[in-house]
């Protein structure tokens, strides 16, 4: 298994041709307290770089993008009831959805954890 990161602050953990996706801890800390999370329903066809869901803090709504193209096989229903799971565990129990990856070549160019940390450090 390998975990990659995007410049839009999503993480994607790859296991063969399936992957689990969420937003990063840095993203949740920037958003602040989340009050609403919309995740894609099972069966949704997602396109790399296109909208996959929405997160809302008290202040604002933000789009969440899919790091790769694929078909959603499971979404995290617990987030509907308790969006704060994303604040408490963005990169663990606050995952958004799992999908079947359409083309693993799309993973090329995503960052590993060290590169993402460097990317975030450069944002300040």
């Amino acid at each position: 298994m390998a975990r990659y990161f995007t410049t839009e602050h999503e993480w994607i953990e790859v296991d063969g041709d399936t992957a689990t996706i969420g937003i990063t801890d840095h993203a949740q800390s920037q958003l602040g307290d989340l009050v609403f999370v919309e995740v894609p329903a099972t069966g949704t066809e997602l396109v790399k770089g296109k909208e996959a869901g929405v997160v809302e803090s008290v202040k604002a709504a933000s789009d969440v993008y899919s790091p790769v193209s694929g078909t959603v096989i499971e979404s995290n229903g617990a987030l509907e009831e308790d969006p704060s799971l994303v604040n408490s565990g963005a990169e663990s129990e606050g995952w958004f959805y799992r999908l079947t990856i359409a083309d693993t070549a799309e993973l090329d160019g995503l960052m590993d954890e060290a590169a993402y940390k460097e990317f975030v450090a450069g944002l300040d």
């Binding site: 602040g32 307290d33 009050v35 609403f36 919309e38 929405v54 809302e56 803090s57 008290v58 202040k59 604002a60 709504a61 509907e80 969006p83 604040n87």
Partner: protein, 379 residues
């Protein structure tokens, strides 16, 4: 060569800038200042703390100024619809700077601080203060003196324990002042103007003092266990629950006070004398009603309708949301909206459209969370 170079002015710093950063605030640009949007506790915890204890807000970005001299009351009455001749020293009024077509240049609080010579203390919005001052300078007659006070800071202490806390710092203040009353005290040798007012719907105070002494007062208040610092994020969710309009969102130059639901700010005497800007149009709207009115909307679920969301009655668009968000106190979203007056009865079932979805939204009369102001004789 190009003459289109844009020089962006970096945000100005508040007198408490270092204090906020030391407290772990995340600073964002707002109204030309770097301001704390939240502290490490987060917006929801800060919101709940203010509703249950006492929150300390730095609102030093707001404009403070005095208008004084013989004839100051009459001169101000020509620019805003408050009944200042009837405003006793130590009393405060919410009012509106109006233009000749009845549009709102700004909303503000005016306090009679006269000690001998007539003097009125105005607190105006941060983003509009320069324009307000220019407008006042242009319209006030000779002999009436406008004094901007940029060297002052403004702190707000808000919440059900605010009076208890402030009474330890200024003994007797909790019973001396009722809602919308003001006085002056000394903090050591520093003069502090104390207003029993605020923008959260809670009992509380606003404290004006020299910026150089702001840290001393902030530290003194933070020494009390009931007090925590509160950022702009919670200030916005608190004022929204209280149904209070935010200038530039729920209120602007193209909106008249009747549409904005602020007819209460135009007193009976002023309606009769008609001596304020836009009086002809505003009195006609008061008599005949405005085509749209500001209302509250209560939404279900957790997805919020925010500024700009269209509001529908069936298939017909009948309004738009002017500000909205999740209410931490109520646990569901709320909004303020301008809606055609055919659809403003409380309980009317409407929809707000968000990202292509129709969200059920029921008309309600703000405040969404009851005000808990301290009025003398009620306690």
């Amino acid at each position: 060569m190009s003459d289109s170079t844009v020089i962006e002015r970096p945000p100005a710093t508040l007198p408490l800038d270092g204090w906020h950063r030391a407290a772990g605030a995340r600073m964002v640009p707002f109204a030309g200042y770097a301001m704390p949007i939240q502290y490490p506790d987060g917006i929801i915890a800060e919101h709940e703390w203010t509703r249950t204890h006492a929150g300390l807000f730095d609102v030093s970005h707001m404009g403070q100024l005095t208008v004084g001299g013989t004839g100051a009351a009459a001169a101000l009455e020509a620019l805003l619809p408050a009944d200042l001749q009837a405003l006793a020293p130590g009393r405060m009024r919410y009012s509106l700077l109006l233009n000749d077509s009845g549009g709102v240049i700004d909303d503000l609080i005016v306090t009679n601080v006269s000690e001998g010579e007539p003097t009125y203390f105005l607190v105006v919005n941060g983003a509009t203060k320069d324009g307000d001052i220019a407008h006042l300078r242009t319209h006030l007659p000779a002999g009436v003196v406008l004094t901007p006070l940029p060297e002052l800071a403004l702190l707000a202490l808000q919440g059900p324990e605010a009076a208890l806390v402030l009474d330890r710092v200024f003994p007797g203040i909790a019973t001396e002042l009722g809602f919308m009353e003001a006085t002056s005290r000394l903090l050591g040798e520093v003069p502090v103007r104390i207003f029993r007012s605020g923008y959260t719907g809670e009992d509380g105070f606003e404290l004006s003092l020299p910026a150089v002494d702001a840290v001393t007062l902030a530290d003194r208040l933070m020494a009390e266990e009931e007090v925590r610092p509160i950022g702009l994020g919670a200030r916005d969710s608190l004022r929204l629950e209280a149904g209070l309009p935010l200038y530039g969102h729920d209120l602007d130059i193209d909106v008249d006070p009747v549409t904005a639901g602020l007819a209460f700010a135009i007193t009976k005497a002023r309606r009769a004398d008609g001596g304020f800007p836009g009086a002809g149009r505003i009195n006609a709207l008061l008599r005949d009603g405005a085509p749209m009115r500001r209302v509250g909307l209560v939404l279900e679920g957790r997805m919020a309708a925010r500024e700009g969301s269209p509001v529908f009655a069936g298939e017909e668009q009948v309004g738009r949301v002017t500000s909205g968000g999740f209410s931490p106190t109520l646990g569901h979203p709320i909004a303020l909206a301008f809606v055609d007056t055919a659809h403003i009865a409380p309980g009317t079932a409407l929809f707000a459209e968000v990202r292509g979805k129709r969200l059920p939204a029921t008309v309600a009369r703000p405040p969404f969370v009851p005000h808990r102001y301290y009025r003398k004789g009620e306690a």
